[in-house]
């Protein structure tokens, strides 16, 4: 690396050793952990979800330009769970199997499989003999029952093993008498305790014998990392058989008597209201219909704006759809009736945070209202020779975070009690919000958490559970409430439209400063992070002057390269609940990182360096560098490619992990113009190489799946997937309108390399790949066409490639030609090439 002359004094940015790798795995003293033996008919043990030594108080480092490097969102999630957690328990059943009820959601991310592996490892039992179920809402766990920020694995890793180790210890002690051997000579494997002499006794015979008659504290040690046999090996999902046979039960598949199908007629504009229903009796008399009732759909009880709608309960969902569409409703206005993409863009630009780095040109004085989130680096350019500056704005349009399973909830609110089934990522919040809108205490509300059909942040909000509870209370009957796909697009949570402005200056081959100012429609974090951040605010070096969104931004945003003086700014427009917003598989990095990496490629080009070399020279984290080198070698960086095909590469750190993504994008006409009815075809990602380092990978198979999913989402973010806001509502009304990555967009070649363990603790993975993949695809596309895209997805402003469905009546009627229209629906238009 060329010698640097730096004039701006910056806080040192030595590669920050990942906390998980502090201390060599084998060289650590064996720590002892506290748990509880619980009085029960068979062996039961419990631990606090706080039993992790790494959670012991440690002084936070002093503020640095990018706080997320030393204290990121996963730390926040862990810290706020620390003082409040109660016990999670493992039970050894009479048949020798082990049960664990995990206070997390399972929506496809594989946390139940991971938990089963941790238990199997520690106890010496087959993974398939560990049965992990999802816990009901447990208010006593407070913050410690949420599934977000990719923190699940990080937070359960030690506590679950401690419980399993305690259980194993009890089994071994009980076996010692039977086997006539000393406990320390015994080992466990395959669900049996074995003596040195070769005799053995199965857990089934020990479950009752090892039971405790009184609950008491107990101490245990954990199996050393270098003895792991299960952790780090590929394991299939615990529910793969159920999933491929149709036996897996999602909320709408549950047998809850009398919970009849229920759907909602929603207003034609976002957060509109019902003024009157003009044919109530008529619709009540329609075939199959049992009830029609107006409800509030206020998603933020007691906090924000109000909206309302009309719910229909019927014998089948088909009859709900027909009845919803037959309703003659006079609608009041909505929350954003005058807003469209263009008006939002204007307002975002007007609120662009001010430039804070000195610049040789005139300063951009656009009127920002909030301070930059990092300190202005005054004097950055003092003494630097001739400085050149590049400056670019990027626009990111609305994106839907809808999963395949729509928003669903079953509610039975009768006799002063409410029983709810919904795949909530935050069941305790759901429980307390339901109690609030029903006028009950949380104790009167039970929230069961079935496995979800995808979550991606949408199920961090209780919208549908509130709908169901309100309808059930109003009519006094159980309901099985499902959002129609059209509701998912229009009334569902969206990732807010935002702009990112990047200014970088360089002198010769040195990057002198890099400044990024991000301005967004407000994101609603109130239900997920709000209370947590407030409770931790005192510990964060920067929290007080900042808004909640700025705090979240700062905890997740970072620049992985040494790019001179760095300043990051965040601003937003509107109140948190003007639009229904949330995260989409990731918080900010699917916008923030592509804008940044595209400019990094620009810098490399201007300085005359290869994009890979430029990054390798400047990447600051050793693990990230190793990931980059791996994709360089495995993905064959720089190989000869025909004109119109190019590679892009990016490295990214988040959630205690690092990931490098190298992609190839083919923009040649033969590829981009391929004709598949109703598809967004266009440029195609043809090859992907990912190298991921999460510290200690627990289940490489699950980790690879998470990386692949993140890549698919990244492809949608660049090329295909967005919502168009027009006059107060989104135009998209279903899949095919909303263009998430499909088989025709998916890369034919994708290779995920799981880096060898770099630490003794796991990092999160659910969101890790999204920002990196989005950025890598954008960079490859820019290089393939020789022009940097600045608006995402790239086709958003070019066309609305589908026939817009009416908003009144609110639901698209089901076709009747399904026997002949297979596979292509009759409504499919020609293919759309977003790059044309």
């Amino acid at each position: 690396m060329p010698a640097k002359h730096r004039t701006a004094p910056r806080p040192s940015r030595r590669p920050v050793a990942n906390k998980s790798s502090a201390g060599a795995p084998g060289g650590m003293q064996r720590r002892r952990f506290l748990g509880y033996l619980i009085a029960a008919p068979t062996l039961a043990v419990g631990v606090k979800l706080t039993a992790d030594g790494v959670l012991e108080a440690q002084a936070l480092p002093s503020p640095t330009p990018e706080v997320s490097e030393v204290y990121d969102l996963s730390d926040l999630l862990l810290d706020s769970t620390r003082p409040t957690a109660n016990l999670i328990t493992i039970v050894v059943n009479e048949d020798g199997t082990v049960s664990f009820s995990i206070p997390r959601a399972e929506s496809g991310q594989g946390i139940t499989t991971t938990a089963a592996m941790l238990i199997a490892e520690e106890m010496g039992i087959d993974v398939s003999d560990v049965n992990v179920t999802l816990a009901d809402a447990r208010p006593e766990l407070l913050f410690n029952q949420q599934t977000q920020g990719s923190a699940s694995v990080i937070s359960i890793y030690t506590p679950v093993r401690v419980a399993a180790a305690l259980a194993r210890g009890q089994l071994v002690e009980a076996a010692a008498t039977i086997l006539g051997d000393e406990a320390e000579n015994l080992r466990t494997t395959g669900g049996r305790v074995l003596s040195t002499a070769g005799s053995s006794v199965p857990f089934a015979e020990l479950a009752a014998a090892a039971a405790n008659s009184v609950t008491r504290e107990a101490i245990t040690e954990l199996k050393p990392v270098d003895e792991f046999e299960v952790i780090g090996t590929p394991q299939r999902r615990d529910d793969v058989l159920a999933a491929v046979t149709g036996r897996k039960k999602y909320t709408m598949d549950l047998d809850v008597p009398e919970a009849l199908p229920t759907m909602i007629a929603r207003p034609p504009t976002i957060k509109g209201t019902v003024e009157s229903v003009d044919n109530l009796a008529e619709v009540k008399g329609m075939p199959g219909v049992t009830d029609v009732v107006e409800i509030s759909t206020d998603a933020e009880p007691g906090r924000g704006t109000t909206s309302s709608a009309v719910a229909v309960r019927a014998r089948t969902f088909g009859q709900c759809i027909d009845a919803v569409n037959a309703l003659d409703i006079t609608w009041g206005g909505g929350n954003v009736d005058d807003e469209s993409d263009a008006t939002i863009l204007e307002q975002l630009r007007a609120a662009d945070a001010p430039a804070n780095l000195p610049s040789p040109g005139p300063l951009d004085e656009a009127g920002g209202v909030l301070p930059l989130v990092t300190e202005p680096a005054t004097g950055a350019l003092d003494g630097v020779g001739a400085v050149e500056t590049i400056d670019q704005e990027f626009v990111f349009y609305w994106r839907s975070n809808a999963a395949m399973e729509p928003n669903v909830a079953i509610a039975d609110v009768r006799d002063g009690e409410a029983e709810i089934w919904t795949p909530s990522q935050i069941p305790i919040v759901t429980q307390s919000q339901i109690a609030q809108v029903l006028g009950m205490t949380p104790g009167q509300v039970t929230v069961h958490v079935p496995r979800g059909g995808g979550a991606f942040g949408r199920r961090l909000f209780s919208d549908v559970a509130l709908d169901a509870a309100r309808v059930s209370q109003e009519i006094g009957k159980p309901v099985r409430l499902m959002w129609h796909r059209a509701d998912e697009c229009r009334a569902g949570r969206v990732h807010p439209m935002c702009i990112s402005r990047v200014r970088a200056s360089f002198s010769g081959s040195e990057v002198v400063s890099f400044e990024q100012r991000h301005t967004s429609v407000a994101t609603d974090y109130t239900e997920s992070f709000g209370d947590m951040i407030t409770s931790q605010a005192a510990k964060l070096p920067f929290a007080n002057e900042l808004t909640l969104s700025q705090t979240v931004f700062l905890l997740t945003a970072s620049v992985p390269y040494d790019l001179g003086a760095i300043a990051l700014g965040y601003n937003e427009i509107f109140d948190f609940d003007r639009f229904a917003t949330g995260s989409v598989r990731n918080l900010n990095n699917q916008d923030f990182r592509p804008a940044q990496e595209l400019m990094v490629d620009q810098l490399a080009a201007r300085i005359g360096e290869d994009p890979m070399e430029f990054r390798l020279e400047r990447v600051e984290d050793e693990r990230a560098k190793a990931c980059l080198e791996t994709v360089r070698d495995e993905g064959d960086w720089g190989r000869d490619l025909p004109e119109g095909v190019a590679q892009g590469v990016v490295v990214h750190n988040e959630y205690k992990g690092s990931v490098a993504v190298l992609v190839e994008v083919d923009t040649r006409t033969a590829t981009a113009e391929r004709e598949i009815a109703g598809a967004t075809t266009g440029p195609r990602v043809t090859k992907v190489t990912v190298a991921v380092d999460v510290g200690l990978p627990i289940n490489p198979l699950g980790l690879k799946a998470q990386m692949e999913g993140g890549v698919m989402t990244g492809i949608a973010h660049v090329f295909t997937g967005s919502l168009h806001l027009r006059d107060g509502n989104f135009l998209e009304g279903s899949w095919d309108d909303y263009r998430y990555t499909r088989h025709w967009n998916a890369p034919p070649e994708i290779d995920v390399i799981v880096m060898p363990p770099s630490g003794d603790r796991p990092g999160g993975a659910g969101e890790l790949a999204v920002g990196a993949a989005t950025a890598a695809v954008a960079c490859a596309y820019a290089r393939a066409v020789g022009e940097m895209p600045t608006s995402f997805p790239i086709g958003h402003t070019k066309d609305v490639p589908f026939e817009v469905k009416p908003v009144v009546p609110p639901l698209p009627p089901s076709p009747v030609d399904g026997l002949t229209a297979y596979p292509t629906p009759s409504a499919a238009g020609p293919a759309f090439n977003p790059a044309s």
């Binding site: 491929v244 395949m404 059909g453 297979y822």
Partner: protein, 158 residues
């Protein structure tokens, strides 16, 4: 309400419901056959894909009145029986490749894959990447890469 009689997964059924109710709701809400999933209700997401007389179709877009007494509907639950085994080779490939994440789209993906492979095999060919590109089944978890591998693997045993 007219009665409708047809066969589902080898078993004769009779349901009383209006003619225009789409078959998906008859299967799910009335017969409690929950393998076919709802994802859109308008024949675009393909989560409900099942078979009628051995060919794929989307029951969300077929009024039950169009189903004849001789029609045989197969949902994911009945797929293994069509080959007289505990699992269809496509399901085995799906397990081997650990395809699902949340799993919600997978019954539809498998039913579509089986139909596609049967079709290309009947034409004397074998399934290609181009064929797979045209499968319309949505997966919001992004399991497409593993689906692609599993289809090729499953096809070898079909």
């Amino acid at each position: 309400m007219p009665p409708h009689t047809f066969k589902v997964n080898g078993r004769p059924v009779t349901v009383e419901v209006e003619d225009d109710v789409r078959l998906l709701w008859v299967l799910r809400d009335l017969l409690k056959i929950n393998g076919p999933k709802y994802g859109c209700g308008i024949n675009v997401c393909k989560a409900c894909t099942s078979h009628i007389n051995g060919r794929a179709f989307n029951p969300c877009s077929v009024p039950v009145g169009q189903i004849r007494p001789t029609d045989e509907i197969t949902t994911i639950e009945g797929l293994p029986d069509t080959v007289g085994a505990d699992l269809h080779p496509m399901q085995e490939a799906w397990i081997d490749r650990d395809v699902p994440q949340c799993g919600y789209c997978q019954p539809g993906q498998i039913m579509a894959a089986v139909d596609l492979v049967k079709k290309v095999q009947a034409e004397g060919g074998s399934v290609t990447d181009d064929d797979i590109d045209e499968i319309r089944n949505m997966c919001a978890c992004g399991t497409y890469a593993r689906i692609r591998e599993a289809i090729k693997q499953g096809a070898e045993n079909m």
